[in-house]
Amino acid sequence: MNWPALVVFIALFVFVTGLGFWAARWRAGDLTQLHEWGLGGRRFGTFVTWFLLGGDLYTAYTFIAVPALVYGAGALGFFAVPYTILIYPLLYMVFPRLWSLAHKHGYVTSSDVVLGRYGNKWLALAVGVTGIVATMPYIALQLVGMQVVIGAMGVSGEGIIGDLPLIIAFIILAAFTYTSGLRAPAMIAVVKDMLIYLVVIAVTIVVPLHFGGFGPIFAAVPVAKLTLAAPVGDTYGAYSTYATLALGSALALFLYPHSLTAILSSSSPGAIRRNAALLPAYSLVLGLLALLGFMAVALNVGAAPEFAAGFKQYGNNFAVPALILSVFPGWFAGLAFAAIAIGALVPSAIMSIACANIVSRTIYRGFLSPNATNEQESSIAKIASLIVKVGALVFIIFVPVPYALQFQLLGGLWMIQVLPSVILGLYLRMLNGWALLIGWAVGTGVGTWMASTTSFKAAVFTISLFGVSFPSYIALWALIANVVVSVVLSVLLKPFVAPAPVLAD
C-alpha cells in the first residue's frame, strides 16, 4: 500500500466531492427544469466551456490508453493528435449552427434537433438510442482508468472487496450528479484540468532532465516503432489506416451525447467558436501525454519487478502509472492518480447526464408520456442518470475489460451513423426522415458486420478497388454506405412522400 499517494488521493477526492455538491448553488437555477439540470441553464461562457469540453473530451481513459497504445504500438498511437486537430474546424463551422437551432427551439439533445427537422419520431428514437448504447461502454472505460490508478496505489482485494473503491467513487459521483446536474462536472473539470496540466508539465520536465533531453528518450525506442510502417505494394497500408482513424474519430466525436451536452450548455455561438481556437491547448497536452508511452519504454518500466503484477493485471494500461510511480515521490503520484481518477468522474458525469436527457426528453416524453410536465421530465432525467451509472458499473465489474474495449469500438462506429441525420440535415434540405432512418440502419448493419469479420477485435477493414487495397477505419466505410443510401432514397422517395413539414430552422 502506497500510503502517501493514497492520503493525497483521498484528500483531493473528498475536496472535489464537496465541490460537486456545492455546485448546485453556483449560478443557481431552477433544477426542476431539464435545461437547468441537464444543460446548466445554457449559461457557461468561453472559460467554463473550455474546461467543460476539455474535461469531457480528454478523459481518464484517454490519459491511460493513448500512452498505452504508444507504449505498445508506437507511432500508430499518435493518431490521437491529428484526430484532435481535425475536430476543431468542425467545431467552429458546424456546431454554432446547431447551438442556434437548439437555443431557438429549446432543444436539449440531438434527437430533439432531428425531430424538429424531420418530424419523424422513429428517427429521433434511433438517434437517441444510438447515443445511449454508444455512451455506456464509454462510461465503463472511464472506470477502467480509475481501476488502474487505484490498483497502482496498492489497493487491491479479492472479488467484491476489490471493486469496493470503485463502487464508493461511483456512489459519490451518482449523488452529486443527481443533486447538481451539469454544474457539478463543470466545476470539478476546472480542478481536474489544472491537476492534469500540472502533472503533464512535471513529467515532461522531469523525465527528459533525467535522460538529458528528448533525443535519448526517442533513441531508446526501436526505430521501427517511431514511424508508421511504409506500405509495400498495392496497398495504402498503415497510411490509410492512420488517416481514416483520425478522420473517423473526429467526425464521430461531437455526435456523442456528452459532447453535444457540453456544446449546448455554452452561452453563445461565439463561446463555441472561441473554444475552437482555445481547446487545441488540450491537444498539445494530449500529444505530450502520448509521449509518456515512449518515456515508459525508455525507463524500461515493463521489466521492473515491482511493476510485474500491475502489467500482468492491467496490460499496457499500466505503463503510465508505472512511469509516474518510478519518477515521482509518493505524494505527487497520489496527486497524479487523483487527476486521472477525477478525470474519470467528469466525463462520466457528463455522459450520464447526456444519456439521462435523451431518456427523459426523447423516450419518456416522446413515447411514454407526451403530456408530462417539465418537473416530471427533469425528475425522470435525474433517475435515469442513476440507472445509466449503475449500468456502467455493473458492466465493468462483470464484463472483462477486453469486451468493454470492443463495445467501445462498436460504439464509435454506431455513433457516427447519426451524422447524416444530425449534421447533413443542417445543410441539405432534400433529405427525407425515412430515408435517413434506412440509411442509419444500413450503416449500422454494415459497420457491425465488418467488425464481426475481425471478431470485433480490430477497428480496420480492408476494401480493394481496382487492385489497390485501402485498409480503413470501419466507421468511415459504414458512414459512406449510410450517406449513399440516405441521399439516394431521399431522391427516390421524393415523388411519393409528402415533404415533411419544415418545423424548425
Binding site: P82, M93, K104, G215, Y239, Y242, A243, G287
Partner: protein
C-alpha cells in the same frame, strides 16, 4: 466580443483555411519520417504537434476576421 445568441456572423472567405489541417494531417506519407529532428523530436512527432498550434491559429484568425 460577445455575440448575440442565435446570430450567425458573416462568413468570411478565410474559412477556406480550415481545409489546410485536413490536407496536412490526412496526407500521412508527407510526414511519416524521422528527420529533420527538432529538440530531439523526430519529424513525425514535432510536425504533428506543430499542426496543433497552426490549426489553433487558423481558428483564431478566422474568429478575428468574423467578429
Amino acid at each position: 466580443m460577445a455575440t448575440q445568441p442565435g446570430l450567425e456572423p458573416k462568413r468570411h472567405w478565410l474559412r477556406i483555411l480550415f481545409v489546410l489541417p485536413f490536407i496536412a494531417m490526412l496526407w500521412v506519407s508527407s510526414y511519416n519520417r524521422l528527420t529533420p529532428e527538432l529538440f530531439g523530436f523526430p519529424f513525425y512527432y514535432w510536425y504533428q504537434l506543430l499542426w496543433v498550434v497552426i490549426s489553433a491559429a487558423i481558428a483564431g484568425i478566422v474568429y478575428k476576421a468574423e467578429h
